[in-house]
């Protein structure tokens, strides 16, 4: 690891196009500004780790066909033919060609278990990770 000591206001440049600015020190926290091209994906480490962990669990769990069939059997949401459920629905028909037609695995659905599609619009359904922050710059 390259270790540099900075005072508030000082910067670090990572070529070709990233600049890190130490903005302020306050209450045991460092406020850091990152200037970089918009396509650079910049995340707090704990958020990145959270996603990494969840992806790994998802990859492991994707062997449990019986659960999927129970969920699928009672999915009440839109089908491919339903007009776009979301404002952002773009060409639902086109999305179908992401999938390969034909061979698939799976076992018969278990009809005794029911599932409702959950709408994100129902506030109680959405787990809140933390209160929204307010501020000028995009800040977390």
């Amino acid at each position: 690891m390259l270790i540099l000591t900075r005072k508030p206001g000082e910067k670090i440049i990572i070529l070709p196009d990233v600049t890190i600015t130490v903005l302020a020190l306050k209450g045991g926290q460092v406020r850091i500004g990152v200037t970089a091209p918009a396509e650079k994906r910049i995340y707090r480490e704990e958020i990145y780790d959270q996603i990494l962990d969840e992806n790994r669990k998802a990859a492991e769990g994707a062997a449990i066909d019986s659960s999927l069939d129970q969920l699928s059997g009672s999915w009440m949401g839109g089908t491919k033919e339903t007009p776009g459920a979301a404002a952002g629905d773009r060409d639902a028909g086109k999305r179908d060609d992401l999938r390969v037609q034909g061979k698939q695995g799976g076992v018969a659905a278990n009809p005794s278990v029911f599932l409702k599609r959950k709408s994100v619009s129902s506030a109680r359904d959405v787990e809140r990770v933390g209160p929204p922050k307010k501020g000028g710059d995009t800040e977390s």
């Binding site: 962990d53 969840e54 994707a62 969920l71 839109g78 979301a86 992401l98 029911f114």
Partner: protein
């Protein structure tokens, strides 16, 4: 990482520990240049049908690697995420069509199965390139439950 690929003209063959061997048209391959987060070395996938609304995002390089996914548009208007226009992995332009794949964490108890709304995979339909983006927004959880505790008798309410 050994690639179990055998290209013959327009098709390729890959192995799946879950489903056996597949032969698919080459143009169905989805490339995720940076990989799914945590899996940077596997960049090529194919989507396979499962029962609606689930599909498999199946690696064609690792026979054991597959993700259950749901179309992001199933979550309605409140799952309002902006596509990463300008992203280099997907070369996504403002007028490109795109798909959103949400990775599902399946558990042996179906009631605990969840969808990761915080890290959707955007796929540029023009070039079939994808990228997983983290949405740092408190509205969206890595574990959005797909199950709701409602009795069978109320199943016809929406």
């Amino acid at each position: 990482m050994s690639e179990e690929l055998n290209k013959q003209g327009d098709v390729l063959t890959f192995k799946s520990t879950r489903f056996g061997e597949f032969t698919v048209p080459v143009e169905t391959v989805i490339t995720i240049p940076s990989g799914v987060i945590g899996f940077p070395h596997t960049t090529k996938y194919v989507m396979l049908d499962h029962k609606h609304p689930f599909s498999w995002l199946h690696s064609i390089e690792d026979p054991n690697l597959a993700f259950v996914v749901v179309d992001g548009f199933e979550f309605g208007q409140q799952f309002d995420v902006k596509p990463p226009v300008g992203d280099k992995d997907t070369e996504l332009k403002a007028d490109d069509e795109y798909a959103i794949l949400i990775i599902v964490t399946v558990r042996s108890d179906p009631r605990l199965t969840t969808a990761n709304l915080k890290a959707p995979v955007f796929v540029n339909m023009r070039n079939r390139k994808g990228v997983q983006i983290i949405i740092d927004d408190p509205r969206y959880s890595t574990r959005f439950p797909l199950w709701t505790e409602e009795s069978a008798s109320s199943s016809d309410k929406s």
